[in-house]
Protein backbone atom coordinates (compact mmCIF):
# COMPACT_ATOMS: atom_id res chain seq x y z
CA UNK A 1 0.00 0.00 0.00
CA UNK A 2 1.03 3.52 -0.63
CA UNK A 3 1.24 4.38 3.02
CA UNK A 4 3.53 1.53 3.81
CA UNK A 5 5.82 2.64 1.02
CA UNK A 6 6.07 6.21 2.26
CA UNK A 7 9.57 6.70 3.52
CA UNK A 8 9.68 10.06 5.17
CA UNK A 9 7.28 11.22 7.80
CA UNK A 10 5.08 14.04 6.66
CA UNK A 11 5.02 17.19 8.70
CA UNK A 12 2.37 19.69 7.81
CA UNK A 13 -0.55 21.30 9.55
CA UNK A 14 -3.75 19.34 9.45
CA UNK A 15 -7.07 21.10 9.73
CA UNK A 16 -9.06 19.74 12.62
CA UNK A 17 -12.29 20.87 14.18
CA UNK A 18 -10.49 22.79 16.88
CA UNK A 19 -9.34 26.33 16.21
CA UNK A 20 -5.69 25.31 16.46
CA UNK A 21 -4.38 23.13 13.64
CA UNK A 22 -2.69 19.97 14.85
CA UNK A 23 0.66 19.19 13.32
CA UNK A 24 0.75 15.81 11.68
CA UNK A 25 4.15 14.29 12.19
CA UNK A 26 3.71 10.56 12.35
CA UNK A 27 5.82 8.07 10.50
CA UNK A 28 4.07 5.14 8.87
CA UNK A 29 4.98 2.87 11.74
CA UNK A 30 3.51 5.34 14.21
CA UNK A 31 0.41 5.76 12.14
CA UNK A 32 -0.19 2.03 12.06
CA UNK A 33 0.46 1.40 15.72
CA UNK A 34 -2.38 0.24 17.88
CA UNK A 35 -4.48 3.26 18.73
CA UNK A 36 -5.09 3.71 22.44
CA UNK A 37 -8.30 5.37 23.41
CA UNK A 38 -11.12 5.15 25.88
CA UNK A 39 -14.68 5.71 24.78
CA UNK A 40 -15.82 8.93 26.48
CA UNK A 41 -18.66 9.17 28.96
CA UNK A 42 -22.27 9.29 27.85
CA UNK A 43 -22.39 12.94 28.88
CA UNK A 44 -19.42 13.80 26.72
CA UNK A 45 -20.91 11.93 23.76
CA UNK A 46 -24.19 13.73 24.31
CA UNK A 47 -22.33 17.04 24.09
CA UNK A 48 -20.68 15.87 20.86
CA UNK A 49 -24.07 15.08 19.33
CA UNK A 50 -25.40 18.39 20.66
CA UNK A 51 -22.60 20.37 19.04
CA UNK A 52 -22.95 18.33 15.87
CA UNK A 53 -26.64 19.14 15.64
CA UNK A 54 -25.99 22.81 16.35
CA UNK A 55 -23.48 22.81 13.51
CA UNK A 56 -26.06 21.24 11.21
CA UNK A 57 -28.50 24.02 12.13
CA UNK A 58 -25.93 26.55 10.97
CA UNK A 59 -26.22 25.03 7.50
CA UNK A 60 -29.96 25.68 7.30
CA UNK A 61 -31.02 28.95 5.71
CA UNK A 62 -34.35 28.73 7.55
CA UNK A 63 -32.59 29.09 10.88
CA UNK A 64 -31.07 32.42 9.89
CA UNK A 65 -34.36 33.68 8.51
CA UNK A 66 -36.07 32.67 11.75
CA UNK A 67 -33.44 34.39 13.87
CA UNK A 68 -33.86 37.60 11.87
CA UNK A 69 -37.63 37.33 12.31
CA UNK A 70 -37.08 37.30 16.07
CA UNK A 71 -36.43 41.04 15.88
CA UNK A 72 -39.72 41.81 14.12
CA UNK A 73 -41.74 42.40 17.35
CA UNK A 74 -39.16 44.92 18.58
CA UNK A 75 -39.04 46.67 15.21
CA UNK A 76 -42.84 46.71 14.98
CA UNK A 77 -43.10 48.13 18.50
CA UNK A 78 -40.69 50.91 17.64
CA UNK A 79 -42.55 51.71 14.41
CA UNK A 80 -45.85 51.72 16.31
CA UNK A 81 -44.49 54.20 18.83
CA UNK A 82 -43.29 56.46 16.05
CA UNK A 83 -46.65 56.38 14.25
CA UNK A 84 -48.79 56.77 17.37
CA UNK A 85 -47.21 59.25 19.71
CA UNK A 86 -49.98 59.41 22.31
CA UNK A 87 -49.51 55.92 23.78
CA UNK A 88 -50.26 55.77 27.49
CA UNK A 89 -50.06 52.02 28.05
CA UNK A 90 -47.27 50.71 30.30
CA UNK A 91 -44.19 49.02 28.84
CA UNK A 92 -45.14 45.48 29.94
CA UNK A 93 -48.52 45.74 28.21
CA UNK A 94 -46.89 47.07 25.05
CA UNK A 95 -44.32 44.28 25.16
CA UNK A 96 -47.07 41.70 25.58
CA UNK A 97 -49.05 43.17 22.70
CA UNK A 98 -46.14 42.91 20.31
CA UNK A 99 -45.25 39.45 21.52
CA UNK A 100 -48.83 38.29 21.04
CA UNK A 101 -47.63 35.83 18.42
CA UNK A 102 -45.58 33.97 21.03
CA UNK A 103 -47.84 30.85 21.08
CA UNK A 104 -47.65 30.59 17.30
CA UNK A 105 -43.89 31.15 17.24
CA UNK A 106 -43.13 28.64 19.99
CA UNK A 107 -45.25 25.96 18.30
CA UNK A 108 -43.76 26.64 14.89
CA UNK A 109 -40.12 26.76 15.97
CA UNK A 110 -40.35 23.80 18.35
CA UNK A 111 -41.96 21.71 15.60
CA UNK A 112 -39.38 22.70 13.03
CA UNK A 113 -36.41 22.29 15.35
CA UNK A 114 -37.35 19.04 17.07
CA UNK A 115 -39.82 17.04 14.98
CA UNK A 116 -37.50 16.20 12.10
CA UNK A 117 -34.21 15.68 13.93
CA UNK A 118 -34.47 11.94 14.36
CA UNK A 119 -36.49 11.23 11.23
CA UNK A 120 -33.90 13.01 9.16
CA UNK A 121 -31.24 10.67 10.55
CA UNK A 122 -33.25 7.65 9.40
CA UNK A 123 -34.29 9.11 6.07
CA UNK A 124 -30.82 10.32 5.12
CA UNK A 125 -29.29 7.09 6.47
CA UNK A 126 -26.86 8.89 8.75
CA UNK A 127 -28.35 6.93 11.66
CA UNK A 128 -26.90 3.72 10.20
CA UNK A 129 -23.48 5.15 10.88
CA UNK A 130 -24.11 7.08 14.08
CA UNK A 131 -26.00 4.37 15.92
CA UNK A 132 -23.42 1.71 15.08
CA UNK A 133 -20.69 3.78 16.77
CA UNK A 134 -19.81 2.99 20.39
CA UNK A 135 -22.46 5.27 21.83
CA UNK A 136 -25.53 5.09 23.98
CA UNK A 137 -28.70 5.93 22.13
CA UNK A 138 -29.74 8.03 25.12
CA UNK A 139 -26.74 10.32 24.47
CA UNK A 140 -27.69 10.49 20.82
CA UNK A 141 -31.32 11.35 21.59
CA UNK A 142 -30.62 13.84 24.37
CA UNK A 143 -27.92 15.62 22.37
CA UNK A 144 -30.34 16.12 19.52
CA UNK A 145 -33.23 17.17 21.72
CA UNK A 146 -31.18 19.69 23.68
CA UNK A 147 -29.92 21.31 20.50
CA UNK A 148 -33.50 21.79 19.27
CA UNK A 149 -34.51 23.17 22.65
CA UNK A 150 -31.54 25.55 22.62
CA UNK A 151 -32.55 26.85 19.22
CA UNK A 152 -36.15 27.38 20.29
CA UNK A 153 -35.21 29.15 23.53
CA UNK A 154 -32.55 31.23 21.78
CA UNK A 155 -35.05 32.46 19.21
CA UNK A 156 -37.70 33.29 21.79
CA UNK A 157 -35.17 35.02 24.06
CA UNK A 158 -33.97 37.12 21.16
CA UNK A 159 -37.55 38.18 20.48
CA UNK A 160 -38.22 38.83 24.17
CA UNK A 161 -35.02 40.68 25.00
CA UNK A 162 -35.13 42.92 21.93
CA UNK A 163 -38.80 43.77 22.54
CA UNK A 164 -38.11 44.33 26.24
CA UNK A 165 -35.28 46.74 25.48
CA UNK A 166 -37.40 48.75 23.04
CA UNK A 167 -40.43 48.74 25.36
CA UNK A 168 -38.51 49.91 28.42
CA UNK A 169 -36.60 52.49 26.42
CA UNK A 170 -39.80 53.99 25.03
CA UNK A 171 -42.31 53.48 27.82
CA UNK A 172 -40.27 53.30 31.01
CA UNK A 173 -39.22 50.43 33.29
CA UNK A 174 -41.52 47.53 34.08
CA UNK A 175 -43.10 47.10 37.47
CA UNK A 176 -42.57 43.99 39.53
CA UNK A 177 -41.19 40.76 38.15
CA UNK A 178 -43.54 40.28 35.21
CA UNK A 179 -40.68 39.72 32.80
CA UNK A 180 -39.22 36.98 35.03
CA UNK A 181 -42.60 35.25 35.28
CA UNK A 182 -43.18 35.57 31.58
CA UNK A 183 -39.76 34.08 30.82
CA UNK A 184 -40.46 31.19 33.20
CA UNK A 185 -43.67 30.38 31.29
CA UNK A 186 -41.81 30.83 28.04
CA UNK A 187 -38.92 28.49 28.89
CA UNK A 188 -41.32 25.85 30.16
CA UNK A 189 -43.47 26.15 27.05
CA UNK A 190 -40.37 25.77 24.86
CA UNK A 191 -39.39 22.65 26.79
CA UNK A 192 -42.88 21.18 26.63
CA UNK A 193 -43.45 21.94 22.96
CA UNK A 194 -39.97 20.73 21.98
CA UNK A 195 -40.32 17.49 23.95
CA UNK A 196 -43.71 16.80 22.38
CA UNK A 197 -42.41 17.54 18.89
CA UNK A 198 -39.34 15.39 19.53
CA UNK A 199 -41.42 12.42 20.70
CA UNK A 200 -43.88 12.70 17.81
CA UNK A 201 -40.97 12.94 15.39
CA UNK A 202 -39.41 9.83 16.87
CA UNK A 203 -42.71 7.95 16.67
CA UNK A 204 -43.56 8.72 13.07
CA UNK A 205 -41.70 7.53 10.01
CA UNK A 206 -42.09 10.70 7.96
CA UNK A 207 -40.50 14.06 8.58
CA UNK A 208 -43.79 15.71 9.47
CA UNK A 209 -43.23 18.99 11.24
CA UNK A 210 -46.90 19.96 10.89
CA UNK A 211 -48.16 17.15 13.13
CA UNK A 212 -46.86 18.56 16.45
CA UNK A 213 -47.70 22.09 15.31
CA UNK A 214 -51.30 21.15 14.56
CA UNK A 215 -51.62 19.18 17.76
CA UNK A 216 -50.16 21.77 20.11
CA UNK A 217 -51.33 24.96 18.47
CA UNK A 218 -54.69 23.98 17.04
CA UNK A 219 -56.07 20.59 18.11
CA UNK A 220 -55.62 20.67 21.88
CA UNK A 221 -56.48 24.37 22.31
CA UNK A 222 -59.41 23.71 19.96
CA UNK A 223 -60.77 20.99 22.20
CA UNK A 224 -60.45 23.26 25.23
CA UNK A 225 -62.27 26.05 23.37
CA UNK A 226 -65.12 23.78 22.36
CA UNK A 227 -65.40 22.54 25.93
CA UNK A 228 -65.51 26.12 27.17
CA UNK A 229 -68.14 26.97 24.62
CA UNK A 230 -70.24 24.08 25.88
CA UNK A 231 -69.97 25.46 29.40
CA UNK A 232 -70.98 28.92 28.31
CA UNK A 233 -73.94 27.62 26.36
CA UNK A 234 -75.24 25.18 28.94
CA UNK A 235 -74.25 27.01 32.09
CA UNK A 236 -74.26 23.65 33.85
CA UNK A 237 -72.22 23.97 37.08
CA UNK A 238 -71.19 20.32 37.13
CA UNK A 239 -69.78 20.54 33.63
CA UNK A 240 -68.15 23.80 34.64
CA UNK A 241 -66.29 22.01 37.44
CA UNK A 242 -65.01 19.32 35.10
CA UNK A 243 -64.10 21.74 32.36
CA UNK A 244 -62.17 23.95 34.75
CA UNK A 245 -59.47 21.30 34.83
CA UNK A 246 -58.95 21.77 31.11
CA UNK A 247 -57.49 25.16 31.94
CA UNK A 248 -54.55 23.31 33.38
CA UNK A 249 -53.59 21.71 30.08
CA UNK A 250 -50.11 23.15 29.61
CA UNK A 251 -50.46 23.91 25.90
CA UNK A 252 -51.60 27.28 27.28
CA UNK A 253 -48.15 28.05 28.67
CA UNK A 254 -47.12 30.39 25.83
CA UNK A 255 -50.50 32.16 26.14
CA UNK A 256 -49.79 32.64 29.83
CA UNK A 257 -46.34 34.04 29.00
CA UNK A 258 -48.08 36.82 27.09
CA UNK A 259 -50.94 37.24 29.50
CA UNK A 260 -48.67 37.72 32.50
CA UNK A 261 -47.29 40.80 30.73
CA UNK A 262 -50.75 42.30 30.98
CA UNK A 263 -51.93 41.62 27.45
CA UNK A 264 -54.88 39.23 27.53
CA UNK A 265 -55.38 38.39 23.86
CA UNK A 266 -52.45 36.44 22.48
CA UNK A 267 -52.72 35.57 18.82
CA UNK A 268 -53.56 31.92 19.27
CA UNK A 269 -56.81 30.00 18.78
CA UNK A 270 -57.59 30.13 22.49
CA UNK A 271 -56.37 33.69 22.88
CA UNK A 272 -58.32 34.98 19.91
CA UNK A 273 -61.60 33.59 21.14
CA UNK A 274 -60.83 34.72 24.65
CA UNK A 275 -62.51 31.72 26.23
CA UNK A 276 -59.60 30.13 27.84
CA UNK A 277 -57.95 33.22 29.17
CA UNK A 278 -61.08 35.02 30.24
CA UNK A 279 -60.58 34.04 33.87
CA UNK A 280 -57.63 33.90 36.17
CA UNK A 281 -55.48 30.82 35.75
CA UNK A 282 -53.18 29.69 38.51
CA UNK A 283 -49.84 29.53 36.75
CA UNK A 284 -48.07 27.32 39.29
CA UNK A 285 -49.94 24.09 38.51
CA UNK A 286 -49.74 24.77 34.79
CA UNK A 287 -45.98 25.19 35.06
CA UNK A 288 -45.69 21.95 37.05
CA UNK A 289 -47.91 20.09 34.60
CA UNK A 290 -45.91 21.53 31.72
CA UNK A 291 -42.72 20.15 33.25
CA UNK A 292 -44.31 16.74 33.77
CA UNK A 293 -45.76 16.71 30.27
CA UNK A 294 -42.38 17.66 28.80
CA UNK A 295 -40.48 15.03 30.77
CA UNK A 296 -43.05 12.36 29.87
CA UNK A 297 -42.79 13.10 26.15
CA UNK A 298 -39.01 13.37 26.30
CA UNK A 299 -38.79 9.95 27.94
CA UNK A 300 -41.23 8.60 25.37
CA UNK A 301 -39.10 9.99 22.54
CA UNK A 302 -35.92 8.51 23.99
CA UNK A 303 -37.61 5.13 24.43
CA UNK A 304 -38.76 5.20 20.81
CA UNK A 305 -35.22 5.90 19.66
CA UNK A 306 -33.78 3.23 21.96
CA UNK A 307 -36.13 0.60 20.60
CA UNK A 308 -35.95 1.64 16.98
CA UNK A 309 -34.78 -1.17 14.71
CA UNK A 310 -32.87 0.04 11.70
Amino acid sequence: MKLMERENPVEEPVQTESCEPVVYSASDEEAHRNTDYTVPSGLSQMFTFYMNEMYLYTKEAGVYITLIMAFIPAIALYAYSVLLTDITDPSDYMMGMFLALTPFMVALIASNACAKQVNREYKERTAYMNLALPISRISFALGKFLSGLTLCIAFMFLAYISTYLVATALFGPMEGDVLGMSLAYLVMSCFMYCATSFALGAMTTRMNVMLPFMLLFIAIPGIVMIANLAVVLTGEPMILDIISYLYLIPTSLPDLAVKVLGYGSPLSPSGLFGFMLSGEIDGGPVLALGALWGIAFLVLGILMIKRKDL
Binding site: L3, V14, E17, Y24, V39
Partner: protein, 316 residues
Protein backbone atom coordinates in the same frame (compact mmCIF):
# COMPACT_ATOMS: atom_id res chain seq x y z
CA UNK B 1 -17.45 -18.93 24.24
CA UNK B 2 -13.65 -18.89 24.38
CA UNK B 3 -11.27 -16.04 25.16
CA UNK B 4 -10.27 -16.20 21.51
CA UNK B 5 -13.77 -15.32 20.40
CA UNK B 6 -14.10 -11.88 18.82
CA UNK B 7 -17.75 -12.16 17.86
CA UNK B 8 -20.07 -14.74 19.35
CA UNK B 9 -23.65 -15.11 18.15
CA UNK B 10 -25.78 -17.62 20.01
CA UNK B 11 -29.24 -18.73 18.95
CA UNK B 12 -30.07 -15.41 17.32
CA UNK B 13 -33.71 -15.00 16.37
CA UNK B 14 -35.22 -11.91 14.76
CA UNK B 15 -38.89 -11.78 13.90
CA UNK B 16 -40.87 -9.03 12.21
CA UNK B 17 -44.44 -9.91 13.06
CA UNK B 18 -45.04 -13.35 11.58
CA UNK B 19 -41.96 -13.19 9.40
CA UNK B 20 -38.79 -14.72 10.78
CA UNK B 21 -35.76 -13.01 9.29
CA UNK B 22 -33.19 -14.89 11.35
CA UNK B 23 -33.93 -18.22 12.94
CA UNK B 24 -31.74 -19.69 15.66
CA UNK B 25 -28.49 -18.58 14.08
CA UNK B 26 -25.25 -19.29 15.90
CA UNK B 27 -21.78 -18.42 14.71
CA UNK B 28 -18.40 -17.49 16.06
CA UNK B 29 -15.64 -15.32 14.63
CA UNK B 30 -12.36 -15.91 16.36
CA UNK B 31 -9.79 -13.20 17.01
CA UNK B 32 -7.64 -12.60 13.94
CA UNK B 33 -10.04 -14.51 11.71
CA UNK B 34 -11.42 -13.12 8.45
CA UNK B 35 -14.90 -14.51 7.96
CA UNK B 36 -17.20 -14.07 5.00
CA UNK B 37 -20.95 -14.08 5.48
CA UNK B 38 -22.63 -15.43 2.39
CA UNK B 39 -26.17 -16.11 1.35
CA UNK B 40 -28.79 -15.19 -1.23
CA UNK B 41 -30.81 -11.99 -1.04
CA UNK B 42 -33.18 -12.07 1.90
CA UNK B 43 -31.24 -14.83 3.64
CA UNK B 44 -30.75 -12.70 6.75
CA UNK B 45 -27.16 -11.52 6.33
CA UNK B 46 -27.85 -7.83 6.85
CA UNK B 47 -30.24 -8.54 9.70
CA UNK B 48 -27.53 -10.60 11.36
CA UNK B 49 -24.95 -7.85 10.92
CA UNK B 50 -27.38 -5.24 12.18
CA UNK B 51 -28.05 -7.32 15.27
CA UNK B 52 -24.32 -7.81 15.83
CA UNK B 53 -23.71 -4.06 15.62
CA UNK B 54 -26.73 -3.18 17.76
CA UNK B 55 -28.70 -1.49 15.01
CA UNK B 56 -31.61 -3.73 15.83
CA UNK B 57 -32.70 -5.64 18.88
CA UNK B 58 -32.93 -9.42 18.48
CA UNK B 59 -36.16 -11.16 19.37
CA UNK B 60 -34.05 -13.64 21.31
CA UNK B 61 -30.51 -14.89 21.46
CA UNK B 62 -27.25 -13.47 22.66
CA UNK B 63 -24.51 -11.50 20.92
CA UNK B 64 -21.14 -10.86 22.49
CA UNK B 65 -18.28 -8.84 21.08
CA UNK B 66 -14.97 -9.56 22.76
CA UNK B 67 -17.00 -11.06 25.59
CA UNK B 68 -19.20 -7.98 26.10
CA UNK B 69 -22.93 -8.28 25.55
CA UNK B 70 -24.06 -6.02 22.70
CA UNK B 71 -26.76 -4.67 25.04
CA UNK B 72 -23.87 -2.72 26.58
CA UNK B 73 -23.48 -1.09 23.17
CA UNK B 74 -21.00 1.61 24.13
CA UNK B 75 -18.43 -0.81 25.53
CA UNK B 76 -19.12 -3.70 23.18
CA UNK B 77 -18.56 -1.53 20.10
CA UNK B 78 -15.60 0.37 21.57
CA UNK B 79 -13.08 -1.45 19.38
CA UNK B 80 -15.29 -2.17 16.41
CA UNK B 81 -15.45 -0.29 13.14
CA UNK B 82 -18.34 -1.06 10.87
CA UNK B 83 -20.20 -0.17 7.72
CA UNK B 84 -23.75 -1.50 7.62
CA UNK B 85 -26.33 -1.06 4.85
CA UNK B 86 -24.76 1.72 2.77
CA UNK B 87 -24.92 4.47 5.37
CA UNK B 88 -24.48 8.12 4.46
CA UNK B 89 -22.25 10.65 6.15
CA UNK B 90 -23.69 14.12 6.77
CA UNK B 91 -23.78 15.90 3.43
CA UNK B 92 -22.88 19.27 4.96
CA UNK B 93 -19.68 17.86 6.43
CA UNK B 94 -16.29 17.58 4.83
CA UNK B 95 -14.52 14.21 5.24
CA UNK B 96 -12.15 15.80 7.75
CA UNK B 97 -14.93 17.26 9.85
CA UNK B 98 -16.83 14.02 9.70
CA UNK B 99 -13.85 12.03 10.92
CA UNK B 100 -13.28 14.59 13.69
CA UNK B 101 -16.86 14.00 14.80
CA UNK B 102 -16.43 10.21 14.73
CA UNK B 103 -13.05 10.50 16.49
CA UNK B 104 -14.62 12.47 19.34
CA UNK B 105 -17.27 9.79 19.80
CA UNK B 106 -14.58 7.09 19.95
CA UNK B 107 -12.60 9.17 22.43
CA UNK B 108 -9.57 9.78 20.21
CA UNK B 109 -7.68 12.92 21.12
CA UNK B 110 -7.35 15.67 18.54
CA UNK B 111 -3.85 14.83 17.43
CA UNK B 112 -4.60 11.15 17.15
CA UNK B 113 -7.73 11.95 15.15
CA UNK B 114 -5.71 14.19 12.85
CA UNK B 115 -3.08 11.51 12.28
CA UNK B 116 -5.57 8.74 11.74
CA UNK B 117 -7.80 10.91 9.55
CA UNK B 118 -4.94 11.65 7.24
CA UNK B 119 -3.95 8.01 7.19
CA UNK B 120 -7.31 6.56 6.36
CA UNK B 121 -8.16 9.28 3.86
CA UNK B 122 -4.86 8.71 2.09
CA UNK B 123 -5.35 4.97 2.12
CA UNK B 124 -8.78 5.44 0.60
CA UNK B 125 -7.54 8.03 -1.90
CA UNK B 126 -9.72 10.75 -0.42
CA UNK B 127 -7.11 13.07 1.07
CA UNK B 128 -7.34 15.59 -1.75
CA UNK B 129 -11.10 15.79 -1.10
CA UNK B 130 -10.71 16.31 2.63
CA UNK B 131 -12.12 19.85 2.62
CA UNK B 132 -14.91 19.33 0.11
CA UNK B 133 -18.53 18.90 1.11
CA UNK B 134 -19.61 15.26 1.14
CA UNK B 135 -22.98 16.18 -0.42
CA UNK B 136 -21.21 16.70 -3.74
CA UNK B 137 -19.48 13.32 -3.73
CA UNK B 138 -20.33 10.37 -5.94
CA UNK B 139 -21.66 7.16 -4.39
CA UNK B 140 -18.24 5.56 -4.57
CA UNK B 141 -16.58 8.53 -2.88
CA UNK B 142 -19.15 8.50 -0.11
CA UNK B 143 -18.50 4.81 0.34
CA UNK B 144 -14.80 5.57 0.77
CA UNK B 145 -15.60 8.15 3.44
CA UNK B 146 -17.83 5.64 5.16
CA UNK B 147 -15.10 3.01 5.14
CA UNK B 148 -12.59 5.55 6.39
CA UNK B 149 -14.70 6.17 9.51
CA UNK B 150 -14.82 2.43 10.12
CA UNK B 151 -11.02 2.30 10.06
CA UNK B 152 -10.44 5.59 11.88
CA UNK B 153 -9.95 4.19 15.37
CA UNK B 154 -7.73 1.38 14.10
CA UNK B 155 -10.30 -1.05 15.49
CA UNK B 156 -9.62 -4.63 16.48
CA UNK B 157 -12.78 -5.83 14.76
CA UNK B 158 -14.14 -4.64 11.43
CA UNK B 159 -17.64 -5.51 10.28
CA UNK B 160 -18.51 -4.64 6.71
CA UNK B 161 -21.73 -5.13 4.82
CA UNK B 162 -20.98 -5.13 1.10
CA UNK B 163 -18.12 -2.65 1.45
CA UNK B 164 -17.27 -2.48 -2.25
CA UNK B 165 -20.82 -1.74 -3.30
CA UNK B 166 -20.86 1.36 -5.48
CA UNK B 167 -17.13 1.34 -6.10
CA UNK B 168 -15.50 1.13 -9.50
CA UNK B 169 -13.24 -1.89 -10.22
CA UNK B 170 -10.13 0.00 -9.15
CA UNK B 171 -11.85 1.04 -5.94
CA UNK B 172 -12.81 -2.56 -5.26
CA UNK B 173 -9.22 -3.70 -5.63
CA UNK B 174 -8.00 -0.88 -3.38
CA UNK B 175 -10.45 -1.78 -0.64
CA UNK B 176 -9.49 -5.44 -0.91
CA UNK B 177 -5.83 -4.47 -0.59
CA UNK B 178 -6.54 -2.40 2.49
CA UNK B 179 -8.46 -5.26 4.05
CA UNK B 180 -5.70 -7.70 3.16
CA UNK B 181 -3.26 -5.36 4.92
CA UNK B 182 -5.42 -5.49 8.04
CA UNK B 183 -5.00 -9.25 8.06
CA UNK B 184 -1.30 -8.76 8.60
CA UNK B 185 -2.06 -6.54 11.56
CA UNK B 186 -4.03 -9.29 13.30
CA UNK B 187 -7.39 -7.65 12.93
CA UNK B 188 -10.68 -9.53 12.84
CA UNK B 189 -12.99 -9.11 9.87
CA UNK B 190 -16.59 -10.10 9.32
CA UNK B 191 -17.68 -9.25 5.83
CA UNK B 192 -20.92 -9.76 3.97
CA UNK B 193 -20.69 -9.63 0.21
CA UNK B 194 -22.09 -11.06 -3.00
CA UNK B 195 -18.68 -10.98 -4.61
CA UNK B 196 -17.35 -14.45 -3.94
CA UNK B 197 -13.94 -13.50 -5.22
CA UNK B 198 -13.63 -11.07 -2.33
CA UNK B 199 -14.33 -13.83 0.11
CA UNK B 200 -11.95 -16.23 -1.63
CA UNK B 201 -9.20 -13.63 -1.62
CA UNK B 202 -9.68 -12.31 1.87
CA UNK B 203 -11.41 -14.80 4.09
CA UNK B 204 -10.06 -17.90 5.70
CA UNK B 205 -13.49 -18.98 6.81
CA UNK B 206 -17.05 -18.56 5.72
CA UNK B 207 -20.56 -18.85 7.13
CA UNK B 208 -23.37 -19.42 4.69
CA UNK B 209 -26.87 -18.36 5.63
CA UNK B 210 -30.07 -19.53 4.07
CA UNK B 211 -33.55 -18.62 5.26
CA UNK B 212 -32.12 -17.07 8.38
CA UNK B 213 -30.13 -20.07 9.49
CA UNK B 214 -26.45 -20.83 9.20
CA UNK B 215 -26.24 -23.87 6.95
CA UNK B 216 -22.47 -24.13 6.65
CA UNK B 217 -19.64 -22.63 8.64
CA UNK B 218 -15.97 -23.39 8.52
CA UNK B 219 -12.68 -22.86 6.76
CA UNK B 220 -13.04 -22.12 3.07
CA UNK B 221 -10.33 -24.60 2.08
CA UNK B 222 -11.93 -27.47 3.97
CA UNK B 223 -15.40 -26.70 2.67
CA UNK B 224 -14.17 -26.60 -0.92
CA UNK B 225 -12.13 -29.74 -0.36
CA UNK B 226 -15.32 -31.48 0.70
CA UNK B 227 -16.73 -30.77 -2.75
CA UNK B 228 -13.68 -32.32 -4.42
CA UNK B 229 -13.51 -35.90 -3.12
CA UNK B 230 -11.77 -36.97 -6.31
CA UNK B 231 -9.36 -34.06 -6.24
CA UNK B 232 -8.93 -31.26 -8.75
CA UNK B 233 -7.76 -31.14 -12.35
CA UNK B 234 -4.60 -29.27 -13.29
CA UNK B 235 -4.37 -28.36 -16.94
CA UNK B 236 -0.79 -27.62 -17.97
CA UNK B 237 -0.13 -25.95 -21.30
CA UNK B 238 3.39 -25.61 -22.73
CA UNK B 239 4.80 -23.80 -25.74
CA UNK B 240 7.01 -26.64 -26.97
CA UNK B 241 5.98 -30.16 -27.88
CA UNK B 242 5.30 -32.42 -24.87
CA UNK B 243 7.85 -35.15 -24.24
CA UNK B 244 7.26 -38.60 -22.77
CA UNK B 245 9.84 -37.91 -20.07
CA UNK B 246 8.01 -34.81 -18.98
CA UNK B 247 4.69 -36.63 -18.76
CA UNK B 248 6.27 -39.53 -16.89
CA UNK B 249 7.87 -37.13 -14.42
CA UNK B 250 4.57 -35.31 -13.86
CA UNK B 251 2.54 -38.48 -13.42
CA UNK B 252 5.03 -39.64 -10.84
CA UNK B 253 4.60 -36.53 -8.69
CA UNK B 254 3.07 -36.91 -5.25
CA UNK B 255 -0.70 -36.28 -5.32
CA UNK B 256 -1.18 -37.05 -9.03
CA UNK B 257 -3.68 -39.88 -9.38
CA UNK B 258 -4.25 -39.87 -13.14
CA UNK B 259 -3.27 -37.99 -16.28
CA UNK B 260 -4.49 -37.40 -19.82
CA UNK B 261 -2.53 -36.01 -22.74
CA UNK B 262 -4.52 -33.65 -24.98
CA UNK B 263 -2.61 -33.09 -28.21
CA UNK B 264 1.02 -32.03 -28.31
CA UNK B 265 0.93 -29.13 -25.91
CA UNK B 266 -1.63 -29.83 -23.16
CA UNK B 267 -1.71 -32.38 -20.39
CA UNK B 268 -4.39 -32.76 -17.72
CA UNK B 269 -3.56 -34.14 -14.30
CA UNK B 270 -6.00 -35.43 -11.72
CA UNK B 271 -4.54 -34.16 -8.45
CA UNK B 272 -5.42 -34.79 -4.84
CA UNK B 273 -2.79 -33.51 -2.50
CA UNK B 274 -1.52 -30.59 -0.50
CA UNK B 275 -0.80 -27.06 -1.67
CA UNK B 276 2.93 -27.77 -1.31
CA UNK B 277 2.63 -30.79 -3.62
CA UNK B 278 0.68 -28.68 -6.10
CA UNK B 279 3.43 -26.06 -6.01
CA UNK B 280 6.05 -28.74 -6.71
CA UNK B 281 4.19 -29.82 -9.86
CA UNK B 282 4.09 -26.24 -11.12
CA UNK B 283 7.79 -25.83 -10.32
CA UNK B 284 8.58 -28.99 -12.28
CA UNK B 285 6.58 -27.80 -15.29
CA UNK B 286 8.30 -24.42 -15.11
CA UNK B 287 11.74 -25.96 -14.95
CA UNK B 288 11.10 -28.57 -17.65
CA UNK B 289 12.47 -26.40 -20.43
CA UNK B 290 9.24 -26.73 -22.42
CA UNK B 291 8.34 -23.09 -21.87
CA UNK B 292 5.30 -23.10 -19.64
CA UNK B 293 2.32 -21.16 -21.00
CA UNK B 294 -0.28 -21.69 -18.28
CA UNK B 295 -1.47 -23.86 -15.41
CA UNK B 296 -5.22 -23.84 -14.82
CA UNK B 297 -6.85 -25.33 -11.76
CA UNK B 298 -10.26 -26.80 -12.46
CA UNK B 299 -12.58 -28.20 -9.86
CA UNK B 300 -15.06 -27.11 -7.27
CA UNK B 301 -14.55 -23.69 -5.71
CA UNK B 302 -16.40 -21.34 -3.42
CA UNK B 303 -18.78 -20.39 -6.19
CA UNK B 304 -19.75 -24.01 -6.75
CA UNK B 305 -20.19 -24.49 -3.02
CA UNK B 306 -22.39 -21.41 -2.89
CA UNK B 307 -24.47 -22.51 -5.86
CA UNK B 308 -24.80 -25.97 -4.41
CA UNK B 309 -25.98 -24.73 -1.03
CA UNK B 310 -28.32 -22.08 -2.35
CA UNK B 311 -29.89 -24.26 -5.03
CA UNK B 312 -33.54 -23.45 -5.60
CA UNK B 313 -33.21 -19.86 -4.39
CA UNK B 314 -34.38 -17.05 -6.66
CA UNK B 315 -32.23 -14.01 -7.13
CA UNK B 316 -28.91 -14.41 -5.46
Amino acid sequence: MTDESAIQVSNLVKKYGDFTAVSDLSMEVRKGEFMGLLGPNGAGKSTTLKAITGLLTPTSGEIRIQGIDIKDHRNAMAHVGCVIETPEPYGDFTPLRYLAFVGRLYGLDKEETAIRSRDVLEELKMWEWKDKKIAGFSKGMKQRVVISQALLSNPQIIILDEPTSGLDPRGMVEIRNILAELKKRDRTLLISTHILREVEELCGSVTMIREGTAIVSGQVSKLVEGLNPEGITLEIKVMDRLTEDFITDLSGCAGVTDYQRLGDHVVKLRFKGTSEQQAEIIDMAYNSGLRLLSVNEMGANLEMLYMDLTEGEGAS
